[in-house]
């Protein structure tokens, strides 16, 4: 009968409308699509509702840098405490800046939390950051924040070597204690590091080498190191999982990630540092320019600097050193005074990033030293 055909076509239209409704985060009723003007069917999705000014409400979208479990814990805690609906996407530093740049007219994200400060300086130079000084910034030490470029530090972590002792024993190699140790032919195909184009961790290592050896010599070193590299991963901490599973002997990652993997997997991982000096990361938070919900972002940024919020890290085995002096430093965190740190100026590092990454892409990753298979 005619009715059934109407039903069939009706289901079609309804499904499309349902899809359109489902696409809105606000619960605005979708106008019924005019059957004759089907070309406009996506127009059933009404435009975004006007931002609510008076009371801070969601949704808040966080661009999250550290590991997923810390991101999940933070967003859940924030949502519980403030009632603001919060979601996040975890992106490595390079990816984050690339995405922010592409979305500059209409950003998806409100705040970049846990990104390396040099990445946030790079974003600032590209006009993507709105400088905002959070409420508790006063308690943060001077060298761990920069008002001018708009970032405030939330944690610090030192770059180091994470080695699987069992694999080292098999290869007959000691845990590396200098950058030159990594060039040992016995470690061929047994080192993992992230790709500096996507990962802030790997950029920290790149810039550290530039500081220690000068730019040209640093790139020569990286080209030499390439033959020992098993894989360049996308995210900074992924080499740690390879070391934990025994797939590689040495991973170049932040030392707090090494401790985390050791605890989570029970693998025989040892942390060591290069004697010449190593770099460190200040994970910071910054407000994104033209954010869809800056009010909620500011609430987040104020909250994230409190000792309570910073203490969430330890509950997910994230052992970076928190920046707020009042936060209890977890016992597993590696004290930075024991490590020989280079004088890592985040602002200079951030400003130099674009040029260095370009050179890296050409010479180290796609040039003569391109891996075969």
């Amino acid at each position: 009968m005619r009715h059934s055909v109407i039903i069939i076509v009706g289901i079609l239209v309804l499904s499309l409308m349902l899809g359109a409704c489902a696409s809105q985060t606000a619960s605005e009723p979708a106008q019924p699509a005019d059957a004759a003007a089907e070309a406009q069917e996506p127009a059933a999705a009404v435009e975004e509702p006007a931002a609510v000014e008076e009371q801070v409400s969601g949704p808040l979208t966080v661009l999250c840098g550290p590991q997923e479990d810390w991101c999940q814990a933070m967003t859940a805690a924030f949502q519980d405490q403030t009632g603001i609906e919060t979601s996040y996407v975890r992106l490595s530093s390079g990816e984050a800046v690339a995405r922010m740049e592409a979305e500059a007219d209409a950003p998806t994200f409100d705040v970049w939390w846990g990104g390396p400060s040099d990445g946030q300086v790079e974003a600032f130079t590209k006009g993507l950051i709105e400088p905002y000084v959070p409420a508790n910034a006063a308690s943060i030490p001077e060298n761990l924040k920069d008002e001018a470029s708009g970032w405030t530090g939330i944690y610090v972590g030192a770059l180091g070597f994470c080695s699987n002792q069992d694999v080292l024993d098999e290869l007959g190699v000691e845990a590396p204690t200098s950058w030159d140790d990594l060039l040992d032919p016995k470690l061929q195909g047994n080192i993992a590091i992230a790709d500096s184009r996507t990962s802030g961790t790997a950029y920290t290592s790149l810039y550290t080498l530039v500081l220690l050896r000068g730019e040209d010599s640093a790139f020569d070193y990286l080209k030499q190191l390439d033959s020992n590299i098993f894989q360049y991963t996308k995210s900074g901490s992924a080499p740690g999982t390879m070391a934990a599973s025994g797939e590689v002997a040495v991973a170049i990652i932040f030392s707090h990630d090494c401790v985390k993997f050791r605890e989570e997997t029970g693998a025989n991982l040892v942390v060591s540092f290069p004697a010449e000096g190593t770099g460190y990361e200040i994970g910071g938070e910054a407000l994104i320019k033209n954010a869809p919900n800056p009010a909620a972002a500011k609430v987040w940024m104020d909250w994230a600097l409190t000792p309570e919020a910073q203490a969430i890290a330890a509950t997910v085995k994230s052992y970076q050193v928190p920046t707020n002096p009042e936060t209890i430093v977890p016992a597993e965190a590696i004290s930075l005074s024991q490590v020989n740190l280079v004088d890592y100026d985040s602002v200079a590092a951030g400003e130099a990033k674009s040029a260095l990454i370009e050179r890296y892409a050409e010479e180290v990753r796609e040039g003569a030293a391109a891996p075969e298979s």
Binding site: V5, V9, Q40, E47, R99, A102, F230, Q231, E247
Partner: protein, 561 residues
């Protein structure tokens, strides 16, 4: 000339006399135009624009891109060859051999179809990687499974069902009387195989080879996980968007990927399937005697058994990975991964993905059947174009579809009539529909061809409108095809990664991208749990769809009464 125009106008007028049905046709055609042709057109225009010129210069100058293209070809050819071989073996064992476990072999070969893209990769890494359970702990090797070898292994397992099903259908439809004639003329078994059977199967083999090549080229999930530093075009496109957000580079690389895949897909679609040598009569007379030679029989059986055992091992191991603490390192039993997926952070991804796939499935199936009906039963100018376009959604690699959608719907179009769709759930649903329509159309076309138009004519002559005829005569007869379309749409959508990976938003979490996140950061336990849950959802929904739609045609039921 005016005669020509008058004829076309008459055709169109006849179309509009279909009432509600013509509305359905219009919707479907507009959908195809807007969501397949428009995005592809955008890719073409961006990749051929002036902004893309520096990208071309960079790509041509650097060695890297040529290396990537070469890698892609090697991977494609290797997979096509291996997959066709395995598929042929399995089909041969099913049809020509009298051995035990045939049902088991059949089911095993269907397993990869319903599984998510990463499942096999993860399992293979943990089993055969450097710290693999089999390679390191059992055999004491330190084998680097990442790269071309791992890729070909994984892709072969993932795609050989395509070859298997194609060749199975062909082998079953072979006319045994030709074999008998050759044998009775004195040809030996091997000669019969070489000169009679094999030539008849050449279209099937060629078809499988080409299809597998295209599927391998378009695959994204496996190169990301097990490719290591072996970059192929799909992963290069991914890097350029996710890593560098360079849409120009993405579009250019998409074009490079698009040309061979489309070309090969259409060679396969139009040329190979037209040259079918299957049988002259259409229905085989008698049945073929199974192969008697004990030596050949049991060798083939053993190889088949080994391969099936391997596949079972790989899939079974995923389940193991979901219930142990740290897959590959710590084998203590735990339910924390399942808790994460079903109750914790992962549950939203589970419900979101199922919901969006469920919304997309009826849309794709209905539109597919409508388009199939339109293409088979109605004659009008541009009919071949509609046929062509309806297949594009699948012929085009998923990453290209994703990029096309970003380029096309990043901003409001038609002066704000169509809002910015990127970042919404709707665009994800649309991507699912676009990817699922081709299969619905194909199975619909095949089914409608088998329906004698006389029945529909009888219905019309008795006064029923086109819509009534369609609903009460055609639809019940093509119900099995409709069901197949539903199942395929849902399965394809829920396991889809490459098409939606650029379209996901923080608010709408999709399981396959979550699996990628978990796997990339080494949280294989959660990833494995996601995979198990996904397979469970697919199997449940298949069961549900069989129950609701029913696999028998209405015709059989009417005869019962």
């Amino acid at each position: 000339m005016s005669e020509f125009i008058a004829l076309r106008l008459r055709e169109f007028r006849r179309l509009t006399q279909d009432g509600w049905l013509s509305l359905g046709f219009l919707i479907s055609i507009l959908f195809l135009a807007f969501f397949i042709i428009f995005p592809l057109g955008k890719i073409l225009s961006v990749s051929l624009s002036s902004e893309a010129v520096p990208v071309y210069q960079r790509l041509i100058a650097g060695r890297a891109t040529w290396q990537v293209i070469l890698n892609t070809l090697k991977m494609g050819l290797g997979t096509a060859f291996a997959g066709t071989l395995v598929g042929f073996l399995f089909a041969f064992v099913q049809v020509k051999l009298d051995v035990p476990f045939k049902k088991f072999f059949h089911l095993i070969s269907l397993l990869p179809i319903i599984s998510p893209p990463f499942a096999v990769s993860m399992s293979v890494i943990v089993l055969f990687g450097r710290s693999g359970l089999i390679t390191k702990d059992l055999l004491g090797l330190r084998y680097d499974i990442y790269g071309l070898d791992g890729l070909i292994l994984v892709l072969t397992i993932s795609f050989f069902p395509v070859a298997y099903l194609t060749l199975l259908g062909m082998m079953r439809a072979l006319d045994p009387s030709l074999e008998e004639a050759a044998t009775s003329l004195g040809a030996g078994k091997w000669r019969v195989f070489r000169t009679v059977i094999l030539p008849m199967l050449v279209p099937g083999i060629a078809s499988s080879f080409l299809l597998l090549f295209v599927e391998a080229l378009a695959d994204l999930a496996n190169p990301l996980l097990i490719g290591g530093n072996y970059t192929v075009l799909a992963s290069r496109i991914y890097m350029s968007i996710i890593g560098e957000y360079d849409l120009n580079a993405g579009a250019v690389l998409s074009l490079i990927l698009l040309v061979p895949t489309l070309l090969i897909y259409f060679i396969q679609h139009y040329w190979v399937s037209r040259h079918s040598y299957v049988s002259i009569t259409g229905k085989p007379a008698g049945y073929s005697r199974p192969l008697q030679s004990k030596w050949v029989k049991w060798t083939l059986f053993t190889v088949c058994l080994l391969i099936a055992a391997l596949i079972l091992l790989i899939y079974g191991f995923i389940f193991v990975g979901a219930i142990v603490k740290v897959w590959g390192i710590n084998y203590e039993l735990t339910l924390e991964h399942f808790r994460f997926v079903l109750l914790g952070y992962g549950s939203k991804a589970m419900t979101d993905t199922t919901l969006l796939s469920a919304i997309a499935t009826p849309i794709a199936s209905l539109m597919g059947i409508l388009i199939a009906y339109l293409v088979v039963r109605r004659k009008f100018i541009g009919r071949n174009l509609v046929d062509f376009t309806s297949v594009l959604g699948l012929a085009v690699p998923g990453t290209v579809v994703g990029i096309g959608f970003i380029l096309a719907f990043n901003k409001p179009i038609l002066g704000g009539l169509v809002p910015k769709l990127t970042g919404t759930a709707l665009i994800i649903i649309l991507a699912y529909v676009v990817r699922s329509i081709p299969a619905s159309v194909r199975s619909g076309v095949a089914a409608i061809y088998q329906v004698d138009p006389a029945m529909e004519e009888a219905s019309s002559s008795l006064g029923a409108s086109s819509a009534t005829t369609f609903q009460r005569i055609t639809m019940p007869l093509v119900r099995p095809a409709f069901l197949t379309g539903l199942i395929y749409s849902f399965t394809r959508s829920i396991t889809s990664l490459s098409a939606i990976i650029f379209l996901v938003t923080p608010q709408w979490r999709i399981m396959t991208t979550q699996i990628l996140n978990e796997a990339e950061t080494g949280r294989f336990g959660n990833a494995a749990a996601y995979c198990v849950v996904l397979i469970a959802i697919v199997l449940t929904s298949i069961g549900l769809m069989y129950a609701v739609v029913g696999s028998t045609t209405g015709a059989e039921r009417m005869i019962d009464i």
